[in-house]
Symmetry: C2
């Protein structure tokens, strides 16, 4: 499959490298043309890997991933162009973390809105699916880093979009039985609001190789 | 131990009944004197169970539990009286859920504040500890309702207060190894912000007998 990734940070590169290893063709998109991070990644990653702009990555992908920071995601997809994303699935893996000078971390948006919902409102012709934002990027593409069964969660308004994302996640190694559908894109806010808890757990454990396993009576 | 419970709802009564069963003496406190719910509970629960006001419950307890809704918790502890809570541990199990007419659930406070932090600021001479707000009240007092190992989380500024709460939770049946200390009372916001996710999971499973098990690599 042809996949576009919006964002050249650690998350975008980690996802891109895994997708290329799985045989997908990937364009890693940066804000400005000729970005060094995207070019370096593509050069390291072989013939299936291409650098591009946000718009080039969006136009390239049959499925597109938002791997920018959640606080700039809306601006990034505007640069990517709604026309380049129309009819496609947009997998949003971002969290809207705001880091204060004192080290405090908050979310914006939060509580009555989310990045996932904002992207869906901005892109009514795109199937926005929230997923993967609840784990570190190394765990995203290698769930075996965490022992035992543990879960991912998807949220989105479009069943086909969610099915496409679930299929991709199973390629990453996530058993379909461990991917829980939490409902419409408005459930994205509940997934984004896990981040403060996740950050506390990371501090507690001293690493990011952990995930949630939901224990249930029946 | 003498325990005061502020709040006569399902959570307060469930905790009170368990505490009495464990041999503790409990005053279940209501906003107004002569409250029927508190009187009925005490009559059903035997000689270790007493009804009272918020202030009487606070004055009675060596340890006090806030089991009111998080949106009214601050007003409830003001009625309980800072002088009745001074030097004591206050276990805050509440969540600040706001239910809109459309069925949407949000939190207030959220993100940069929490009920736990508000209570601690209002009661500087009290050891406020956040715990138990991440599970249904039936699971709070009977962790075996959920199979396997699963976790609780405590947050508070005072180590002695947290130790007292952990001791009480082990009496409820929670293994000490499954109670994670997430830090100061400011970690309460991360625990309260789990509620939207918890509500989505409850909708997904169709019941509340579930909990988080954190899987970790090391």
């Amino acid at each position: 499959m042809r996949i576009g990734i919006i964002g050249t940070g650690t998350v975008g590169q980690t996802l891109g490298t895994k997708l290329v290893a799985l045989g997908h063709e990937v364009t890693l998109g940066s804000r400005s043309k000729g970005n060094a991070a995207a070019a370096d990644w593509a050069e390291r990653s072989g013939p299936l890997a291409h650098p591009g702009t946000f718009a080039e990555a969006a136009a390239f992908g049959d499925l597109v991933v938002n791997a920018t920071s959640g606080t700039v995601a809306l601006a990034a997809v505007e640069l990517a162009g709604a026309e380049n994303l129309a009819g496609k699935t947009l997998l949003d893996v971002s969290n809207p973390l705001v880091f204060s000078p004192t080290g405090e971390v908050t979310l914006d948006p939060v509580n009555d809105d989310s990045v996932g919902e904002r992207l869906q409102r901005a892109l009514p012709d795109t199937k926005v699916v929230k997923a993967l934002n609840t784990v570190n990027c190394e765990v995203m593409v290698d769930p075996g880093r965490v022992p035992g069964a543990h879960q991912l969660f998807v949220a989105g308004d479009d069943a086909d979009g969610k099915a496409r994302v679930v299929a991709l996640l199973t390629e990453f190694g996530w058993p379909a039985a461990d991917i829980l559908d939490l409902g419409g894109i408005d459930a994205a806010r509940s997934l984004e609001m896990l981040m403060p808890f996740w950050l506390r757990l990371m501090r507690h454990y001293g690493h990011a190789d952990f995930n949630y396993s939901i224990r249930t009576a029946r």
